[in-house]
Symmetry: C2
Subunit: 256 residues, 2 copies
């Protein structure tokens, strides 16, 4: 069934949904849906509405809500990726793939080995671009929430955020984390303990990796250093590998 995101204010007293903007053209012209057809409208906050199209014109579509339910595509764990800002268009790939896999938020971070320099104007445009990629990927993968991307922070700002947010678990993949595989760390919790972990975060370095003193600062804030095994993963690969492992271990890849 076709699926669209709508702004929460376009959901009227749990009875009607109003579709506006580009989706109107898409629904009427490309998909040729008509009065009486059904589709899913998602509020982007984790609720799906099964609706029937009632009234269609060129500017908006009015739908009647048949039933509402929790979006099944939305994981219970809320995962934040702090991503060392990489070169070229790698953030596009990271954003798209991590959205498909269930990320909640991505914060690009300028670390010691970040090479890219973005002025304010360019940074703003990039974040808008990534947010759009996240929107499209959330729609395609049937997420119930649209991940938020940005703002770009420097390392000190990111550390302040980490202190403030008090994540239940914070992982730092690091080549030098001898004897501490991600599997061993995650197996340390039994199922009951895991049930208590909801807000999870991890930081991935840019192309050159994180500096040792950066990792040490994160460890001092409670982060757990982990290895991802003997193969050297590119920065854009490490992000979705950790996310896949988290979704797998926290039972978010089960049939529902």
């Amino acid at each position: 069934m076709h699926r669209f995101f709508v702004k929460p204010e376009n959901i009227i007293r749990d009875k009607e949904v109003i579709i506006t903007g580009d989706d109107v053209q898409h629904i009427t012209r490309s998909l040729r849906l008509k009065s009486g057809d059904q589709m899913i409208a998602c509020d982007g906050k984790g609720t799906d509405y099964l609706v029937e199209l009632i009234d269609l014109n060129q500017k908006e579509i009015t739908c009647r809500i048949i039933e509402s339910r929790k979006s099944r595509g939305e994981p219970d764990i809320e995962v934040t990726l702090f991503q060392g800002l990489p070169k070229s268009d790698k953030m596009d790939l990271i954003t798209q793939k991590c959205t498909e896999l269930g990320i909640r938020r991505i914060i690009p971070v300028e670390t010691g080995r970040t090479i890219v320099k973005l002025n304010d104007k360019k940074a703003k445009r990039r974040v808008e671009r990534w947010q759009k990629i996240a929107y499209e990927a959330a729609k395609q993968s049937q997420r119930g929430k649209i991940p938020s991307i940005g703002p770009i922070l420097n390392l000190n700002e990111a550390l302040e955020m980490i202190k403030k947010e008090k994540y239940d678990l914070f992982l730092v993949p690091w080549e030098e984390a001898r004897g501490n595989s991600i599997r061993q760390v995650l197996k340390n919790w039994n199922v009951d303990k895991k049930a208590g972990l909801k807000r999870i975060a991890y930081m991935i370095g840019p192309e050159g990796g994180l500096e040792e003193k950066e990792v040490q600062t994160l460890i001092d804030l409670g982060a757990q250093p982990v290895t991802l095994g003997p193969r050297i993963l590119r920065t854009e690969t490490a992000g979705f590998v950790v996310l896949t492992v988290l979704m797998y271990e926290f039972l978010e890849m089960e049939d529902v």
Copy 2:
């Protein structure tokens, strides 16, 4: 330490390694290594040689073997991906990421919903291109073997190959595989049983997915249908998600 692949015939009686081709320029000009410096030469068959550079000229470099050891980047499980041939340059990404993650072989397959049509000449060029991507990714990620890519098969040819190869485990991610998550299937084996599984394969559909009758044919050949959870993954994402889960479950992401 710098690392290069060499052809097995350039490893002389376990005593010397001869470097030829483009690597000579790279080693002498870009990296400026000199007589007495050490590096790793890998035979691409799973053995690494720690060598000392002895004699360098513009055409070849002679090295003395100090010691040999099993490449630590090479997983024990041998995983083959049968990938429904996708559009545009998605195979580039699949090849690069799956190589980093430890794939052994990728066979692109023309299934019922494959849209791309490649004539023989174009197909040959594409396979060469993917093989080159696999070589570069194997080098970068410190693999001990270079995955083999291709040839492109049609579905019947792929089915013949699957019959002949008799994989220990064959997975088919399929949206309709109700009640059978990849986690549940993999948890069905205890550690001892898992130790006996070495040759693993899986098939991913192209953009439109596999047809139901294609999945049924695979099931008749012993394949296990599995779901990857409630989020709809793109074809190029599913391949490395399954591979990540396999490497994780089969302890190939441990510290070594």
